[in-house]
Every structure is written in C-alpha cells, then in structure tokens.
Symmetry: C2
Subunit: 405 residues, 2 copies
C-alpha cells in the first residue's frame, strides 16, 4: 500500500471545531503526518454534537480521522514547551488558537526560521467569529427560504468553515512549495469573514448589489438565473430538476413530453426557453407544466424515465435515506469504508474524495482517542526517554488515553 501523495509532510495542529481540524484532516487523508495537540481532557470541540449514545462526539471523530493525538497541559509552561518543540521539529503549524504569546509566530520562528504557520481567526482584526455568526452577514440567509417567508434562514451546513479548512490546506501546500524553492517560511493569516465575503464577491453578488441590482428575493427551491425547481412524486418523495444549459432543457422537455405545451407558452408570452434568462423569467410556467408529470409517477418511475436521457435531476433524501438508499453512500463506493469506533460501533467513514490513479486512496484511519499517541510522539519526535515521559505523566504535564475528559 502506498504512503499517500503527501508522505513526508508533517503538521502540528492546535485546533477546535470545523475549519482547522478539517484542514489538517484533509492533509492527513493524503498521507501527511498530522499531530493534533489538545489540552488534557480535550478541547472546546471534544463534546460537539452529533453525539453517540455513550456521549462520545461523532463530530470530533469525523473531523480528526487519520491524525495522531497528544494530550498536554498547555496552561503550564512545561506543556507549552513540548508543543513548541514539536512545532520546531515539524516546521508546519495550523491553528485557530490565538496566535500570540506562546504561540506567536515571532517566538516560534525564532527557533525555526523556515516555519510555516497558518493562523485562523474570525475577523481580520483577530476578533472572534464563528460560521453561524458570519453566515448571517453574507446576504445568503435573506435569499434562502420560501417566497413569502419573513425571516432569514441559516445554512445548517457550516459552509464557510468548510471553505476555510480547505483554504488553510492550500495555504500550507503553497507555502511549502515556496519554501522548497527559496528556503523561506511564512506566516499566513486567514479570517473566516474574509473567506465568506471573498466568496460572495467571487460569485458576483457584491458586484450585483453595487451596480444597482436588486437583492435576490427568497424564491423557494428555484435556481437563480436559469431553471431549477423541486417536485413532489406520486409516492410523496421530492426531486430537484435543473435546466441550467440548453442541452439539459431539451433533455427535460423530451423526457417529459412537454414540447408542445412549452411552444404554446413561448408563443403566448414571448419567453424564449432556449435561453437561461427566458427559463428564469418563465420559471413558474415551466414548473406548472411539469408538476403533473411528477405527481403521476413514483420516485422509482422518475428514475427510470430519466435514465440515460441527460436530464439533470436528483432525489431529496434525509440523512437516513442517504445511508439507507443511496449506493454512493455505501461500501459500493470505493471512497467509503466501514470503520470501528471504540466504544461506539461500526459506521461508514469516507476516505479522501481525491482519487489518485497512480497512488490510489489511503485506507480510512479512525480518529485517535485523545492522548492515544502521547508517549509515541514524545519518544519518536522529541527523543524523550521512558523515564522522562513518566515524569511528565506524574507531574500532570501530559496524559495518555483513558484520562477522564
């Protein structure tokens, strides 16, 4: 079995919640040796929902797969020195802890000049912010929901944290490339609000607002600027149907036999459904013609009717339906494996979505138990003797697995 495309890349991670852990895990699942350090007893995310029946965090287990764990008393100077020595040894640090005091770049790089450090913050000024407080500011919650709803609606997926986690990995790899060429390290700052507002800009929403466009109103499950809508099937399932391109539109019209109806509507209204703008402006008419077609068919019949037609569509699924009905979320998909989570049970866990034709994908490694690798790391990476490690344990500076959290 291959070592993974990032074999030899080491990273120290001091983190909590989604973005920093996801950034580290993304690299760990590509073969990097990622050591997450935590306060003895666990960090702020150690009990984050969803939880297993025994209270263990399925969230923590999901976002720390393939890492090694060291538990250290980072409130004590002796514990901090252990973390600093690991950072010096590894040369790469990813953290969403405050990058000051004992974790200031100036201090750390004084010991290792070519250090690469990615420091995540809420806002560019270093103040705090989480996905759930940044998202309301982006504009998207006011554009989400049924047409006549008077309230903004948050995203349940922490999408900005996800984007930030991936960007932190990009920053690390880009700086590693630069260090390879120049020998220079880097401090990279990344703010969650910058990640979010940059994306609002990239998607054209800032320009639209500044150039006098109206704010996109809440529009249910209609897609903005072309045709896309949801429909109820005969067995009371829901499906989403999209005609973003002219080819998708023609496929949809052909598969549902609605060509004559649409020709009549185009001629009566002047809409041109061959164009994206025409489909967007005529979206209520398009949906009204399609609705009976779906209402007369079960989800299975829709699936059969659209197979091989080029129609762009998909079923709505609950989390349960995803794991019970969708072969893409099963071991039929080589991305997924069943893993054992100590004390919790077996469940499906994903490898990296990146599939390397030559090197393959690394097998899933479960998340560590907190402190699982404390002794191994102190011995291997810092060269401490068993006696020295025992002393650290005795003084409460480090902890192995099984320490109450």
């Amino acid at each position: 079995m291959s070592e993974g495309i990032l074999a030899g890349f080491g990273l120290i991670e001091g983190s909590a919640f989604v973005a920093a852990p996801l950034g580290g895990m993304t690299l760990a699942q590509l073969g990097a040796d990622v050591i997450r350090f935590d306060q003895i007893g666990g960090g702020l995310d150690h009990h984050r929902w969803p939880l297993a029946a025994d209270g263990q965090s399925l969230f923590w287990a999901g976002l720390n797969k393939g890492k090694r764990s060291i538990a250290v008393d980072i409130r004590a100077e002796e514990g901090r020195e252990i973390v600093r020595a690991l950072i010096e040894d590894t040369g790469n640090l990813l953290t969403n802890f405050p990058a000051r005091g004992w974790l200031a770049y100036e201090q750390l790089s004084a010991r290792r000049e070519d250090l690469i450090m990615v420091a995540l913050t809420g806002n560019p000024d270093g103040s705090s912010e989480v996905d759930y407080t940044v998202n309301p500011a982006t504009g998207f919650p006011w554009a989400t929901g049924p047409r006549n709803l008077a309230e903004p609606l948050n995203s349940v997926l922490p999408a900005w944290d996800v984007a930030m986690g991936e960007l932190s990995a990009i920053g690390l790899l880009a700086a590693d490339r630069h260090r390879g060429q120049t020998g220079q390290g880097e401090l990279i700052r990344l703010a969650l609000s910058d990640v979010a507002f940059a994306m609002v800009g990239h998607l054209g929403r800032i320009a639209e607002a500044q150039l006098g466009g109206h704010d996109q109103p809440k529009d249910g499950n209609y897609l903005y600027g072309a045709f896309g809508h949801d429909f109820i099937t005969a067995d009371e399932r829901r499906v989403m149907v999209v005609a973003l391109t002219a080819r998708q539109w023609r496929a949809l019209v052909t598969a549902t036999g609605t060509g004559e109806a649409y020709a009549a509507i185009e001629s009566a209204t002047g809409h041109d459904f061959e164009t994206e703008t025409g489909r967007y402006e005529g979206r209520d008419l398009i949906a009204a013609i399609l609705r009976p077609w779906f209402a007369a068919r079960t989800l299975a019949a829709v699936r059969e009717g659209f197979a091989g037609t080029g129609v762009s569509w998909g079923p709505y699924q609950t989390f349960h339906q995803l794991v019970e009905e969708d072969p893409r979320a099963s071991i039929a998909n080589p991305m997924f494996e069943q893993i054992d989570h100590p004390g919790v049970g077996r469940y499906l866990a994903p490898r990296s979505p990146l599939d390397f034709a030559r090197l393959g994908r690394l097998p899933v490694q479960r998340a560590p138990v907190l402190g699982e690798h404390t002794e191994q790391i102190l011995g291997q990476r810092l060269g401490l003797s068993g006696r020295e490690i025992g002393g650290l344990h005795d003084r409460g500076i480090v902890a192995g697995p099984g320490t109450p959290g």
Copy 2:
C-alpha cells in the same frame, strides 16, 4: 511587488460554472499563471447570472479573475491540438470537461509523462451532477428551514462546488509536491457527490444516522447541539447569537443581565445551561428569556452593548446591506479593491483571503475578456509566428477579444 507564493506554477484550465473555475482562480490569486481555454464565443457559463445591465456575466467575471484567456475552436482538430500543446508545455491541467477522447489522460500523458491532471465529474462513474442536484441528496435541505415547514430547502450558496474547487487546488498542489520528489505525474479524479457525501460523513451525520440517531428536524435558526438563535431588534433588524462554548454562554448571560432568570429556570427544569447539551435542550426557554432584551434595543444599541463582552453574535444583512454597512466588505479591508470591469463599471473585488505576512497579497486582477490573451499565449507559450497566428485566425481556429459571443 512580489510575484506571489505560487510564482512559476502554470495551469491550463478547461472549465465551466463554479468548481473548476474557482479552483483555478484560487491558484491564480496566489500567483500561478492560469490559462483558461474556451470555445470561441464562450463556454456554458459565459452568460451565467448574476448579469450586469449590459448582459455581461458578473459570475464569470468573479470566478475568472487573474487568469489569461484563449479562445479556440475545440470542436476542430487543429484547435484541440493547440490546447494539447499548451497542456504539454505547462504540465498541469484542471478540467470539468469529459476526460476522454482528445482530453483523455492516456493521450495527454503520452506527450508529457509527468502531467498532473485533475478531472472533475458529477458522480464517480463519470455521470453528470450539479450542486443543485447533489445538495438535495445530502440530507441538509430536509434539516433546513422553519420548524413546521413541510418542504426541503436548498442552499442558495453552491457550497459543494466551493468545497470541490478548493479540493481540486489541494489535489494539484499535493501532486506537484509529489512530482517534485519523484518525477511522477498523476491523474486525480474528483466527483462532486464524493465531495458532498464525504463532508456529510466528516461532520458526523452519516454515523449519527447509522447508529440509530434521529434525523435532525428542521429547527429554524437554532444551532444544533448547543445554543444559537436569531432575534428581532427594536428597529426590526435581525441578529444571530451563539453560545457554543461555556465562555460564550457566560458572556451572553452577563451582557444581557439574565443570570437570575436562567438560574430559576435551571432549578425548575433540571437543565444545566453550562453544558452544550443543556443549552440545546433548553433552547426555547433560553430564547424566550433573551427575546425582550433584543426587542428593546436597536441594532446599534445591541452592537454597543456587546462590544468587548466576548458575546458571539452578528447581524443579518442583505447583499446590499453587506456592501453598504459592513466595513469588512469595503476598501477599509485590505482584502478588497475597487476594480474596473470593461463595459460594466467599478465594483469591489476580493484578493485571496490568504494573507501572507512576508510576500503579501497580490493585487486583484480582473477577469480577462474572452480571448484577450489568445495571441500572447500562442506566441509566448507555443512560439507561433505572427503569420501562423494570423492563419489560425483566418481559418476560425482561434479568436481574439471582441469576437461576438
């Protein structure tokens, strides 16, 4: 001015819509030389909404900043040969076009053995899928929306496309590092459904469903597993307030003077609001106590009252309010610059959110006009003479800017 941390990294991009263009742009904004090739007249995303008043796509302009553009007839063998020669010259290809036939890895790598190619698809079997059809399958739309809403709700932000774009950049950089060490190229396949379902797994939702947990019900703007909720202010604005950690909870209680009320509720109900689970289970009670505090204050008074307290909160903003009221989305934030978009006007455009302490951030470069760099690229990269380039123009194999789209 620095060249950027990815100076010297070249990429050919054959793309449309969000993921592949975003992946290429993320690298371009770090200094990579990214050449996007398009069919003469523009690709499928050339007129994607939002649009400017003159019909130009603000979406296209947003997702292609800092790239160079070559317009080629990729339906003609002679045009395809130009693209293949550019790929051979550059050694890196990112595409969401079908990776077969003239764009098959086997063909391309026969000409450049160490080629790195990232091939994006909808599903792992190569079939098509877009963000708007994958998202319904993930489970999130059934967990989004007001409590008693009977329908699923899509995300307006194409979050899976965003994650896929960033992951494609990670794949390119990881493979580039590996090539530097081994001389080997790679073909990397990445499917949108894998990106989405892996994230559902990373966040613990697959394990929760498989281990017998219930599906998280729609719960308005409550945060899952701790306390977070939205409130209306005296001036009819909305704010989101979060108490994910015990410290945030204590700050909120102190700032709003609700300590006595919560102590009474804890003693009456048995909830322990010091724990995440306690705050989640008592979320309706917590919100009911806080509601009058916000109703009695304007947004400005809330902002003043929370300043320096450690309360985690933020205002809801429309896209307009974001650009009109939020200094983080203005040139007061060094991430943003005003740029000129030919024929459209001036608006705020973001640099990379990654801020490099040593190298700085590159200035924003607007998106190219389609075909703006056709002649430059043919001359510089392929060494064609003016006469040869003129011949390609005459035969309609390439086009410069200004060709009707």
